[in-house]
């Protein structure tokens, strides 16, 4: 019988089977940021186990609160920084070079098809866009990952989600994944891998695929995964050109990770997006999703563009398409945080930063910041934010604040109007 990509990755990385349903995997990349790593580092130190399994396989960034906003966050950054130096971790990204982990690490070419990737961060599922098994984990798993290079998982079942049809103008990967989460609900994919495929995904850029996989966790999934193909190979080409003779050769080689035609899925869902309209969340759970037309006129106080979901260059372009030559509503605060320095630079070169600034946006350095209500745009009680991020939990962006998740295109439209509106009416 055929195998899914995840089964193939599990097979090639299996270190142990501690029980019939559990597998301990060898890990290719352990990624670390300053919120969940310091306690692991301190604990290893206290136990006299201050070692790493392989400094080349550990990637470290300070991204959640950067520059540090107070002495506590400065201490977290310092613990991580000191540790990275002590352990000779070359791939360490600090101020000036840092960006949101799930945008930065793919950009650096750290993820390859068939890899196993862990991080103390739930949106690690983003990296499945490259045909990897990438999962968010807690600090103890991270600690063991750093120390031993292994992590345990229950054997996940796979759900196949096929996206067919043609994406209409003004509708993006964000709208597609919000629609999928609405269908599946917040725990519809718990303990499962979401294999996201079909002709629409085949035509998507890596950026868009990352947006899809990023939010797999919002349906409870362990990982989202897309088949590695030519788009993947072209994105990775600068990093793999010594390993392959040509892009064609890489594309051919990546096929070894494709799910077999007769692989077994626990569920299959097909979504025709030809008539999909922009989607938006209305409540405090990411599956509380409606067509944007149903929330027309709903007030917003802040518009936040950025994060590991939608802070990439294509996202900035989509927002700029709406904002070009316009001003945001006087009642709205617009905040743009390009997800990495490279994206920031590119946006400057393309004139996008100017468009945002002319429209009245504040442009901040790359950081998670407001996405998790830590800095750079925390909401006051009773305030509402139109946001391109991935979580709308009660209080996520600040106690008593409310978040509506949407695409950058829709968020830009909300900025212009001061309320949620159908972005397709604006251009």
């Amino acid at each position: 019988m055929g195998k899914t990509i995840t089964e193939k990755i599990f097979e090639t990385h299996r270190r142990d089977n501690p029980s019939r349903n559990n597998v301990v995997l060898n890990i290719d990349v352990v990624m670390c940021h300053e919120i969940t790593t310091p306690i692991a580092v301190n604990d290893l130190q206290e136990r006299g186990l201050d070692r790493v399994f392989d400094p080349n396989k550990i990637k470290v960034v300070i991204d959640h609160v950067t520059p540090s906003k107070d002495s506590k966050t400065a201490t977290q950054a310092k613990i991580l920084r000191d540790w990275a130096r002590r352990q000779n971790i070359k791939d360490f990204f600090d101020i000036g070079a840092n960006g949101v982990c799930h945008a930065l690490f793919p950009e650096k070419g750290f993820i390859r098809p068939g890899y196993t990737v862990i991080m103390g961060d739930s949106h690690t599922c983003t990296h499945g866009a490259f045909g990897a098994f990438a999962a968010g984990i807690g600090t103890t798993d991270l600690e063991v990952g750093i120390f031993k290079g292994v992590c345990s998982f229950r054997l996940p079942e796979t759900m196949k989600i096929s996206i067919i049809g043609e994406l209409p103008q003004g509708v993006y990967a964000k709208d597609v994944i919000l629609k999928i989460i609405k269908e599946l609900t917040v725990n519809g994919a718990t303990d499962k891998v979401m294999e996201i495929c079909g002709p629409v995904v085949d035509r998507m850029s890596m950026e868009a695929r990352m947006t899809l996989c990023n939010m797999a966790i919002e349906a409870g999934a362990t990982c989202g995964v897309c088949m590695p193909d030519r788009v993947t190979a072209e994105y990775l080409w600068p990093f793999i050109q010594d390993e392959y003779e040509s892009i064609d050769a890489a594309v051919e080689d990546f096929k070894k990770w494709h799910s077999d035609a007769d692989a077994k899925y626990v569920a299959e869902l097909t979504l025709d997006v030809s008539d999909l309209v922009p989607q938006v969340t209305y409540g405090f759970k990411p599956d509380e999703v409606k067509d944007i037309t149903e929330l027309e006129g709903s007030r917003v106080d802040q518009v936040y563009m950025g994060s590991c979901t939608n802070g990439r260059i294509e996202d900035l372009r989509a927002g700029a398409e709406i904002l070009k030559g316009k001003k945001i509503a006087p009642t709205v605060r617009g905040i743009l945080s390009p997800a990495t320095p490279k994206i920031y630079n590119q946006a400057m070169e393309e004139g996008l930063i100017k468009i945002y600034m002319d429209a009245g946006f504040c442009v901040t350095n790359p950081t998670c910041g407001a996405c998790l209500g830590m800095s750079n745009g925390v909401l006051a009680e009773g305030e509402v934010c139109a946001s391109t991020t991935n979580r709308n939990f009660n209080g996520r962006m600040g106690k008593g604040g409310m978040v509506h998740l949407m695409s950058p295109y829709s968020a830009a439209a909300a900025a212009v109007k001061g309320f949620i509106t159908d972005p397709r009416k604006i251009v």
Binding site: K72, G120, T140, G373, R391
Partner: protein, 171 residues
């Protein structure tokens, strides 16, 4: 082996997320103990007061998809430092459940009927858990017992006192 159980706190809602268990603004703490006062701070349930209602509690009883959202193990530590050593629910988010076992604490899944029976025992309920025999007894306005099942690896993690101790020995 450690014994598990204690007075129960009932959180009667599905999908309680990690932001509700411990808000992100406390993630800047570098010690587990510092989290103690902030347990369930942002959880809004009718009549629920996080400070008052978590005093002296040993077990949390809840509904489905508990611990969804972020990967923060702080959600488990904030229970641990408040002497809560077991969480019982219909289902858990994967990372939360793994974090519990990784810290050597059981996350126990019960069917809806058994859970309803626990919720029906009144306000003052004492629960005890036997990991070996996989049974749970609860004393409230009456006494009930039910079985549960633990995956053998999860059981090994509880016995070892967590994943680090287990992995350090084995890999």
């Amino acid at each position: 082996m450690k014994t598990f159980g204690g007075p129960a706190l009932f959180l009667d809602r599905n999908d309680i997320n990690t932001d509700e268990i411990i808000p992100a603004k406390y993630l800047t703490e570098n010690s587990k103990l510092a989290l103690k006062p902030f347990i369930l701070e942002d959880l809004k349930l009718p009549g629920f007061d996080p400070v008052r209602d978590t005093q002296g509690v040993g077990v949390v009883v809840t509904r489905s998809n508990f611990g969804c959202g972020s990967s923060r193990e702080h959600a488990v530590w904030v229970f641990e430092v408040n002497d809560i050593n077991v969480v019982i629910g219909e289902s858990f988010a994967r990372i939360f459940r793994q974090n519990m076992f990784n810290c050597g604490m059981p996350a126990i899944e019960l069917g809806k009927d058994d859970l309803d029976a626990l919720f029906g025992l009144g306000d003052k309920v004492e629960i005890s858990i036997d990991i070996e025999t996989e049974t749970l007894t609860a004393k409230g306005n009456k006494e009930i017992a039910c079985g549960f099942s633990l995956n053998s690896f999860d059981k090994d993690l509880v016995k070892a006192g967590g994943w680090l101790a287990y992995a350090d020995k084995k890999y």
